[in-house]
């Protein structure tokens, strides 16, 4: 569907707002599984997912590398659940 649109239909303002779409959508998918446990209540204590996610964010911010981010998050998560 996407580029049946002509080039200028989306003006500068629309493009600027559309650029926020990933930031607006993805957290809605990311946050609930991390912060809520399987019964839907807030799980803030000893939650390995939160810590692993924070670590992944740090790595992502510094490295700007998608693979490194995912790798960091997964390894820290496994470390936390199997070792700690």
């Amino acid at each position: 569907m996407i580029f049946l649109l002509k080039e200028d239909i989306l003006n500068y303002k629309m493009k600027k707002i559309l650029s926020y779409v990933p930031s607006a959508i993805f957290p809605a998918i990311i946050f609930p599984p991390i912060f809520l446990d399987s019964s839907g209540s807030l799980d803030l204590e000893n939650n390995p997912k939160i810590l692993a996610a924070i670590f992944a964010i740090l790595v992502g911010y510094l490295s700007k590398n998608i693979i490194a981010t995912i790798f960091a998050g997964l390894t820290s998560y496994w470390f936390l659940i199997f070792v700690v």
Binding site: M1, F3, L4, M14, V21, A24, F26, A28, F31, F35
Partner: protein, 232 residues
Amino acid sequence: MNDRLKTLSRGIIDVSPLMIPVVPFGIIFGIIGMELGLSAYMTFGMSIIIFGGASQIVLLQLFSGGASSLVTITSVGAVNSRHLLYGAVFSEYLSHLKLTWKLILSYVLIDQAFAVSNTYFKKNKNNKFKHYHLLGAGFTCWTVWQISTVLGIVLGSVIPEELGLSFTISLTFLALLINDFRKFKNIVVMLVSGVVATIGYNTIPLQAYIIVAALSALLVATLLTLINLKQK
């Protein structure tokens, strides 16, 4: 022919590292689909017809939560709407192509292909065959996704749940956002989306938490953009 082939291979090579997290993602999708009682054909069909990881996962989540068709379609549409942005960005490079090309390229265009091809297009504006890059990247994504889905369908209950592969899904999308972590306005938008979704998960009826979160966050984004433009 040689230039076309070179650009095509460039696309395949560029996107390959990003395929690593796609594999567990696809496998999880296949597993969850089967667990929910969908037939193998239905699960595989979703990967072929929709071909969008986030959208497919969201569809499964809402389906299992008992959401109505309206909420499901709207949510999946919301999650997929980022492709509008991708299309808008790419129209600059690809609007001259024939309809068949556009249809094929739109079909295989997903986040990872967009990421690598966007970088390529910006640097190679003069390449007559630059669209082959997207073709290569997109079809690689497509193939990897279909194979992973089938693997998931077949593996079913063999993979232990403790590996927390569903955390991989959250991680993959977190990773796709890293480019926006440095922008203050984006962080604000992300927080609004995440907090509304988390609170809304239990409080908003009809499993509409995704739509509500996304719309709230977009509202904030629009406000921020307008305020910013006024200041300039």
